[in-house]
């Protein structure tokens, strides 16, 4: 199972790095929640306690992600025009089977993003996924804990 999940995450990263966003959408469950809390410079317990009351960095559904991809397709979304060069490194994968055919997957992500001639950033975070495996693998929920309190402009997909 762990090997299968690893391959799944690597394939997903490849789709995103290649700009194959429509194919990536097919990996998402219709009732997906895809979100990232903002970080705060406070003790760990308090950060956790206040997480729900803070405004998330993003909080998306499959439909809103499809809209974002449609936006890129207009050719007028300057954040990805010209497209950035990205490379995702997915590591530290831990897989745990849960009830209802769900698989919990924790992974670390390092995302290198290069735009213009020499403008480069690295984004680091941890992802907590819930994948459903009744039939094809489908992503039901992804929470991304980004390790940056102040963020650079981010295209979107983590």
């Amino acid at each position: 199972m762990t090997g299968e999940v690893e391959q799944l995450l690597y394939r997903e990263a490849h789709l995103l790095d290649s700009g194959r966003f429509r194919e990536w959408l097919e990996l998402l469950a219709p009732d997906l929640r895809y979100w990232a809390p903002v970080r705060a410079e406070v003790p760990r317990e308090q950060e956790k306690e206040d997480e729900a009351s803070r405004l998330p960095l993003f909080d998306e559904t499959k439909a809103s992600l499809a809209l974002r991809i449609g936006r890129l397709d207009t050719g007028l979304a300057w954040v990805e025009n010209p497209p950035t060069r990205t490379r995702r490194f997915v590591t530290n994968i831990v897989v745990e089977e849960a009830a209802n055919g769900l698989v919990l997957v924790r992974s670390n992500l390092m995302l290198f993003r290069s735009r213009s001639f020499a403008d480069e950033t690295i984004l680091v975070g941890c992802r907590e996924d819930k994948w459903s495996r009744s039939g094809d693998w489908l992503l039901k929920e992804r929470k991304i804990l980004i390790d940056h309190c102040t963020v650079e402009n981010m295209s979107l997909l983590l």
């Binding site: 903002v38 705060a40 410079e41 406070v42 003790p43 308090q46 009351s53 803070r54 405004l55 998330p56 960095l57 993003f58 909080d59 998306e60 809103s64 809209l67 974002r68 449609g70 936006r71 890129l72 207009t74 050719g75 007028l76 979304a77 300057w78 954040v79 213009s116 403008d119 309190c149 102040t150 963020v151 650079e152 402009n153 981010m154 295209s155 979107l156």
Partner: protein, 411 residues
């Protein structure tokens, strides 16, 4: 280098206004010292002893609520060696102990104890923290100024209060914020401040993707589509929709009208998009169903930190609060569908300006002659696309720069 930074004769602004470290240092000593600076929102304080970290210009600051219900804006900078006395973004504390040598301050900024005090004649009262001259509140927005010469906050906001009341004054329960989104903008802080107060035009270009997706509903020739600007450098964009679409938020506005919490005229304008900048670096953006407070913190001539929050009435129903939180996140977080293209365009122009000769000047003369008829709203008004409010903002900026330092802290 004799050309003025802001030249009224040809309505140009020097690129140095956005790039020169010397200009950046000068505006810290003048514009940020003499203006009323937005520091925080009342709802960020639950009780006495609460504090938040913020900035006043580049100065790292603590905004504290004391036991008497008074706010104090004190530098997070120890008077002894400059240590950071508070390490947390927000919390509750009545004493701040500098980790360097344990100098201890209260939440008014007074030095209360120094361990190993064996220095004869050492006068603790002399070594309070660097602090604001005055802190004042307007409709839950907390401001401070460092200059004793600055007019009162009410006078400073002037005619802009009418527009702030539109967004902040419809409930006696007041407003609350949720946040904090923080992002880096790779350009001078005045570029976004100018855009938010005076640039509806950019929507067509920067946010063309949203127009193409059918997400734009504007009627530029309408009487309720205008730019406004007021004394002290404040400015505003109001854009009427082609037609107001039925929505949960429109129903909420109708309820506020029925309960006479807003006037007919306010109801009329609240169908519009309203975006404003309060001089120098506070902006608010309102679309029906979306409202956000944004502060453009200057970090360096070519680097800005944006801190932003969602804003709604404290007693709004949950579905309205959820709607505003969601819309602010989707559109105006650093990953927002509007914000991310702004950030990109600003970064590219920021880099461009840094790389141009210091004699390079930018054009602010578009629509200069076309003063549109007066509207039933406060301030001076012009049609959309006019550079006049933006130029007025820079003219005010240059005027404050020329007044020199207004620092109140005489040490």
């Amino acid at each position: 280098m004799t050309a003025p930074l802001v030249d009224a004769s040809d309505r140009t602004v020097s690129s140095r206004v956005f790039t020169d470290p010397a200009v950046f240092a000068l505006e810290q000593a003048t514009v940020f010292s003499r203006s009323w600076l937005y520091l925080g929102h009342r709802s960020q304080f639950r009780g006495a002893g609460d504090f938040i970290q913020t900035y006043a210009g580049t100065i790292p600051l603590l905004l504290c609520l004391d036991d008497d219900g008074k706010f104090h804006a004190i530098a997070n900078v120890c008077a002894h060696r400059g240590g950071r006395i508070c390490q947390q973004e927000y919390g509750r504390a009545r004493r701040f102990v500098c980790p360097y040598h344990n100098w201890t301050y209260d939440n008014r900024g007074d030095l209360v104890s120094v361990p190993r005090q064996a220095s004869t004649g050492f006068d603790k009262s002399k070594w309070h923290l660097f602090r604001a001259d005055r802190v004042a509140t307007y409709r839950d927005l907390i401001f401070a100024t460092f200059s004793a010469e600055t007019v009162s906050l009410e006078d400073y906001l002037g005619e802009m209060k009418w527009y702030l009341d539109l967004l902040l004054g419809s409930s006696s329960a007041g407003t609350e914020v949720a946040g904090t989104h923080r992002s880096v903008i790779h350009c001078n802080w005045k570029i976004p401040a100018e855009q938010f107060g005076s640039d509806n035009w950019h929507f067509q270009g920067v946010h063309g993707s949203m127009s193409k997706l059918g997400r734009r509903n504007e009627d530029p020739p309408h009487e309720d589509s205008f730019h406004a600007w007021t004394d002290f450098g404040h400015m505003l964009i109001c854009v009427a929709p082609k037609m107001e679409l039925p929505s949960a938020f429109a129903s909420y506005l109708n309820e506020l009208l029925a309960k006479e919490q807003i006037s007919q005229l306010q109801r009329r304008l609240l169908r519009c998009s309203i975006v404003m900048t309060v001089f120098p670096n506070l902006s608010l953006v309102f679309f029906p169903g979306l409202c956000s407070i944004r502060v453009w913190h200057p970090r360096a001539a070519g680097r800005t930190e944006l801190w932003s929050w969602a804003l709604y009435n404290r007693d709004a129903p949950d579905h309205i609060k959820d709607l505003i939180r969601k819309q602010v996140t989707r559109m105006f977080s650093p990953t927002g569908m509007l914000e991310q293209d702004d950030l990109e365009v600003w970064a590219r122009l920021g880099s461009n300006l840094m790389n141009m000769p210091p004699t390079y000047r930018l054009c602010y003369e578009f629509g200069a002659g076309a003063e549109s008829p007066r509207r039933p709203y406060p301030g001076k008004t012009a049609s959309l696309q006019s550079d006049t409010p933006a130029f007025a903002y820079y003219a005010r900026w240059a005027e404050v720069l020329a007044q020199g330092s207004g620092g109140s802290d005489d040490r």
